[in-house]
Symmetry: C2
DNA sequence: CATATATGTCAACATGACTGACATAAAATC
DNA sequence: GATTTTATGTCAGTCATGTTGACATATATG
C-alpha cells in the first residue's frame, strides 16, 4: 500500500522513514509551542489566544468570520478567547465601514508588543534551524509541508498576495 | 531580530519567510491529525489515546515511566487513557521479569489493528507529500525539523534507532 | 417587506492537560 | 532486617479549549 503505485518505490517511502517523518512533526510541533506557552501563561493566556494574536497580527482588519475560517473552530470557542483579548486591550474591534455588521479586528499597541514577543521566540527557533540546515533544506521543508496541508488552507493562507475586499 | 550575526543574512531568514515556516508547521500539524481524530472517535478515543498507541506500538514492552518520558505528561494524565486502552483490550500490561514493579506495555491484536489503521492514514499523507516533493526535499524536511526539536527528544527518540546526519 | 448574513450569547458537555495528596509493592541500600 | 527509593496507581479538584444547540440583534440584500 505504501509501495506499488508507479512501480517505483523510493527508499524514503519505507515505512520506517514515514514513521520518522510523523514523529518529527509531532515532536517539532510540541517543542515549538513550548516557549510561547510559557510566555502566554504570564498573561493568563493560552495557546488559543496565541493563534488569534498571530492571525490578527498578520491580517489587520480581518473579520470575525475570516478568522473563524482560518482557525477552523466554532464562534463560541473563538468568542471566549477573543472577548478576553478585547477586554484586556490586546485587540480592538472596529465597525466595518461598508458593512456595519462586521467587527474588524486589529492588534492594539500592547497586542503588537505581545505578538512580537511570541513570534520572536518562534522565529528564533526557525532561524536557527533554517541556518543550520541550509537554503536547500529549507526549500525541502517547505515543499513537503506544503504538500501536506489541505488545499483550502494552502489557498487561503499561502495563496493570495493581492489585497481584496473591504 | 531577523538578525545580522555572522554578517551574512540569507534570504530565507527574512521575517516573512520565517513566518511562513511557522504557519506551515501549524497547518500541517492540524491537517495531519484530522483523519486519525475521526477514526479514533469511532472507538470513543481521542488524540491522547493515539499517542499512547503509537509509542507503545513502536516500542513494545515499554515501561510506564519510559512512556511518560516520551509523552512528557503526568502519570495522572496518562493513567486515564492507558487504563481505558487496557480495559478495552487494545493494550496489555505484563509484569516485568527483572523488576516486578514494572508494567511492560504492549499492543494486543486489536491494538495492532488500530495502530495500523491510524498510522496508515498518516503514512499515506506523508508518502504522498514525500513523493511529490522528492528525495532531496525529504532530506531537507528532516534536517530542518530535526534541528527544531529538543536535544532530549532527539536523542531519546531518534538517537538509538538510526544514526542521524553528519 | 422578507430573508439571509455577521456577530454575539447562554448553557451544557467532553477531552486532556494540570496540581497535590496518598497508597502499595518491590527493589535497592544501609 | 530495617529503611529508603522507585514504579506504578488512584482520588479529587481545576483549567483551557474544543464541541453542540438554541436564541438574539443589527444590518444587508433581494
Amino acid at each position: 500500500m505504501t509501495d506499488i503505485k508507479s512501480g517505483i518505490n523510493p527508499l524514503f517511502l519505507r515505512e520506517e522513514d514515514l514513521r520518522q517523518g510523523i514523529e518529527l512533526l509531532y515532536f517539532a510541533y510540541r517543542d515549538f509551542t513550548a516557549e510561547p506557552d510559557a510566555i502566554l501563561a504570564e498573561y493568563g493566556f493560552g495557546r488559543a489566544h496565541h493563534r488569534v494574536i498571530h492571525f490578527v497580527g498578520g491580517n489587520p482588519r480581518i473579520t470575525v468570520s475570516e478568522l473563524l475560517a482560518i482557525l477552523n473552530i466554532t464562534k463560541q470557542s473563538l468568542s471566549r478567547v477573543l472577548s478576553h483579548l478585547v477586554r484586556e486591550e490586546f485587540i480592538i474591534q472596529q465597525e466595518g465601514k461598508q458593512d456595519r455588521r462586521q467587527r474588524l479586528l486589529e492588534l492594539t499597541a500592547s497586542g503588537v508588543a505581545l505578538e512580537r514577543r511570541l513570534s520572536e521566540s518562534q522565529r528564533r527557533r526557525f532561524a536557527d534551524a533554517y541556518r543550520n540546515a541550509g537554503a536547500e533544506a529549507v526549500e525541502g521543508y517547505r515543499k513537503v509541508l506544503m504538500g501536506m496541508i489541505s488545499e483550502e488552507d494552502r489557498e487561503r493562507v499561502f495563496g493570495p498576495k493581492s489585497a481584496e475586499d473591504e
